[in-house]
Symmetry: C2
Subunit: 373 residues, 2 copies
């Protein structure tokens, strides 16, 4: 294998694929990139056992030559070392040549390096061809779907069902749900294709995927039995799915409420961020006290003291009500509804409450209160 | 105690004093600020047992009132909580009142907090009056003195003599020396006063002190038996000294050399930073090979491979020579001499070598080579 390549495009592909490369692994092959130069261009592949990213550098972009002096082939080389070298060299082009399937020479005209490499046959076989149910969606819609829901998944045990983002399609809608059992986030969006499926994607993988879109316009999603594949620009990402049945969550989101607060999102976030300095570090509990005259957030901590702040802009309907909650959950929810004003609907002091965007019914955030007495 | 204070000036004083406040301490008093409002203004004091910072907010700055509605007094309050509250509130002024020596009320008109506080008598007595040998020096000269030397002190055992910056004054010169036994840095500067002393200042404290100068023009330094005090603007910093005799280092800096390399600092730094990617992570050994035709830096690592880079701009006099060293030490030294070009003088492959600024004799960096065979 031999090629001379534009440094910036090569670095972009290495950065994308490195998202899937484990820094440590019991398998000595996985900390490597699998580099393959074929008729499509230079494929850079990373894989950690569950998550794979393959990014392809094409020979030409528009009329500009990106790869020249090419001789096809493939090899494995330490991902961290190669990425660090690319970051540190100053030239705009770099020449790469693999000698005797054992040494990769890297040269930018000034700096020269010889990296030990491994035969490509040692790399695991990864099928990154589309299969199963396939649909195309705008990258923006798919990003919003995941960004507004996946944060509510549990971050505790790595392979548990609550670590998943539950993704289901039916009746021309795509619905994403995540819950860690103390809170739940649900977001839906329309979908063109008449597809039907219900799968559990690791929430972290879903977030990693959308953070790689970087200007992509549309993405194609393939749902197979054991994995999800997402295609965009010159990149394909694969994640294994989490097996098992996701809890039935639709019926637990209340639709009728006794108390409703509408407030300015940034004022409410600011007040909660200030008073929670006085909550306990381990559980940032904040209390909101509401009646038609006054809305006040407060926190207290036996060791340090207490803090309160009144909200100046609000509309409240209902009897006087006081609710305590994990302020991080409410802050996450208010940020996720992405709206200048936020509506919070309550059923009672100890009943789950809902955070909504008053102008967008597609996103719902449900939070369980905390007992403070 | 009661006062209404400009938030920005209050925050500046809290930030300065917080440098001396331990986040954890066996002594429950030390994680507090000692706040004292007296005829000079509001004194904010932090102390970790060895290092103290007292920053005073004056009543007036130029013609602007900084503190108003004042009632003298003093109290102790948790430093982290108070600093976080000041960072988070939005108003430009904050009102503080201590009630019954037990509760500090903080109010910015919107946000209101009640912090538990402790009687000021519980705080340790710290003498921050000048005593012993005292001199005044420009903040810039004193910063350079410490910045160009203190980094070479050992960072291993906290109270060992090699953790010190050795500071001595004689013959109208101030000399700072630091060594971790594998490298040594020495910087001197002229001093107006005819003072004589030799003390060991914890190198970390010396660096912390100069990083607080922030625009100060002159600083006054007091050297007492057990501590050093540094006064600047509205701040005084005190550090205890490290007892014991500092090693005699003057005679170990060679003055005659057999080989001399002059090179562009940034080219040499760039080349070393690139090739050291291929050195071992634990010991970033780089080798420099020099003769009159060619200068090349290189590194190798049995697991990953090797890298080399030629230097394009240099002057070398002497026989062909190859020297290996901890590249971090040479990178630190080149940065510390603060010069466009750098001179490196060698006696032989395994003899300590010197990194110098060709235009400034006041700074010398000495480094012991490493054996690579």
């Amino acid at each position: 294998m031999r090629f001379t390549i534009d440094k910036e495009q090569f670095s972009k592909a290495l950065n994308a694929a490195s998202k899937a490369v484990p820094t440590k692994s019991a398998n000595p092959i996985l900390p490597n990139f699998c580099l393959t130069l074929n008729e499509k261009g230079l494929e850079v592949l990373g894989f950690n056992g569950d998550f794979a990213v393959k990014s392809t550098v094409p020979y030409m972009i528009n009329d500009r030559e990106i790869i020249r002096n090419a001789g096809v082939g493939s090899t494995l080389v330490n991902a961290k070392t190669l990425a660090e070298i690319l970051r540190s060299i100053e030239g705009s082009e770099v020449s790469v040549e693999v000698i005797d399937e054992a040494i990769m020479k890297i040269d930018d005209g000034k700096f020269s390096s010889r990296l030990n490499c491994i035969k490509a046959e040692e790399y695991p076989d990864i099928d990154l061809e589309p299969s199963g149910t396939t649909f195309t969606i705008s990258a923006y819609e798919f990003s919003s779907l995941i960004e507004q829901s996946a944060f509510a998944a549990s971050q505790r045990d790595q392979r548990g069902i609550l670590n998943a983002l539950h993704l289901e399609a039916e009746n021309d809608k795509l619905i994403a749900t995540a819950t860690d059992s103390a809170r739940l986030a649900r977001k839906e969006c329309p979908i063109d294709s008449d597809v039907r499926f219900a799968v559990n994607v690791p929430a972290k993988a879903a977030l990693d995927i959308i953070h790689m879109f970087d200007g992509a316009k549309n993405v194609t999603v393939s749902i197979a039995t054991r994995k999800i594949l997402v295609f965009f620009d010159n990149t394909v990402v694969s994640s294994s799915l989490i097996p098992g049945d996701y809890p039935v969550t639709r019926s637990i989101i209340p639709t009728m409420f006794n108390y409703t607060l509408e407030a300015n999102s940034s004022e409410l976030l600011g007040a909660m961020n200030r008073v929670r300095i006085l909550s306990m570090d381990s559980e940032p509990v904040v209390t909101i006290m509401m009646d038609e005259e006054e809305v006040e957030v407060s926190a207290r901590n036996d060791a340090s003291g207490s803090a309160t702040e009144r909200i100046s802009t609000f509309q409240y309907s209902g009897e006087r009500l006081q609710v305590s909650f994990n302020s991080q959950f409410v802050i996450d929810a208010i940020k996720a509804v992405k709206s200048e004003d936020v509506v919070i609907c309550f059923l009672g002091e100890m009943k789950p409450f809902v955070v909504k965007n008053p102008k967008d019914e597609s996103v719902v955030e449900l939070i369980t209160p905390m007992r403070t007495f």
